[in-house]
Amino acid sequence: MPATVQIRRWTGATPTKTDITSINTRLQADDTHTTAGTTNPILIPASGSNYSFWATTSLYVSAITSGTVNNIKWYTDGSNSLGTGVSLNVSGAASTYTQATGTVGTTGTVLNNTNYPGVGTPVSAFTYTSGSPLSITGSTTSAADVGTLVVLQIAVDSTAGQGASATETITWQYDDTSV
């Protein structure tokens, strides 16, 4: 059997790890996973930027036999379809989880190496495509979280329009030599 692998979003202090492989997840102004929640949208600022609470994601191997999962890549379609004034930043390399913080219903704390130790400098997620993906360090031969964490954050500036933005597609790729 090929390894059984999930994409999971980490929220809360413990944290809670939610399987989002077959669904979508929203980035908004609170530290929760939801597919359609509208309770705490990011407030459009009068100037500058507001942010979503950052979203920590990773791969999780729930079952594997006599093999290795490794060579993990992460990428987007390379095109920002979120709308005017809305951007999506990503940072990899964190091996230790930090819970997202901020002002619920207004803005999250900006994602950087000070607020989230271990992450690299965030860049536009759309710089990572299938031909130029983000490489994720890590491998496993047993059931476990695998690879460093991928942390996402939406930034909204004053030119953004109200309402839910369009969805974006994110892809994870990995190699698996299990039976």
Partner: protein, 116 residues
């Protein structure tokens, strides 16, 4: 159950199946590359061969992995990456059972180096 399985045929007439007919499984790392003659990808118990890589004393160059693309909310895409290290690799779609591309150094993300 994976749609495609491998069989390693050796130059002494023996072979190693990823999954034997009685369900016994063998790890990829169990392949004896010193006597590897042919690495075959096939459906089920081998009646439909999808790909075969032939070796001539260079079995140590064997590369194989199952490369999976998971896009949120979509069905995973599975490709078998198989070939000879530093010579060629192929990507074989598990869903369509066909070789979808040959390494031509125009990288669409399928042909990243296999880490083995």
């Amino acid at each position: 159950m994976a749609k495609l399985q491998w069989t390693a045929r050796y130059n002494d007439g023996t072979s190693l199946n990823q999954i034997d007919s009685d369900g016994t499984t063998h790890a990829y790392l169990d392949i004896d590359r010193t006597k590897l003659e042919t690495f075959i990808l096939h459906e089920g118990e081998g009646t439909i061969i999808k790909n075969a890589v032939i070796f001539d004393g260079d079995g140590e160059k064997l590369v194989w992995t199952r490369r999976t693309r998971m896009t949120l909310g979509e069905e995973p895409q599975v490709f078998h990456i198989v070939g000879k290290k530093d010579e060629f690799i192929l990507a074989i779609s598990e869903d369509y059972g066909t070789t979808v591309a040959r390494h031509n150094f125009v990288d669409d993300g399928l042909f990243y180096e296999v880490v083995q």
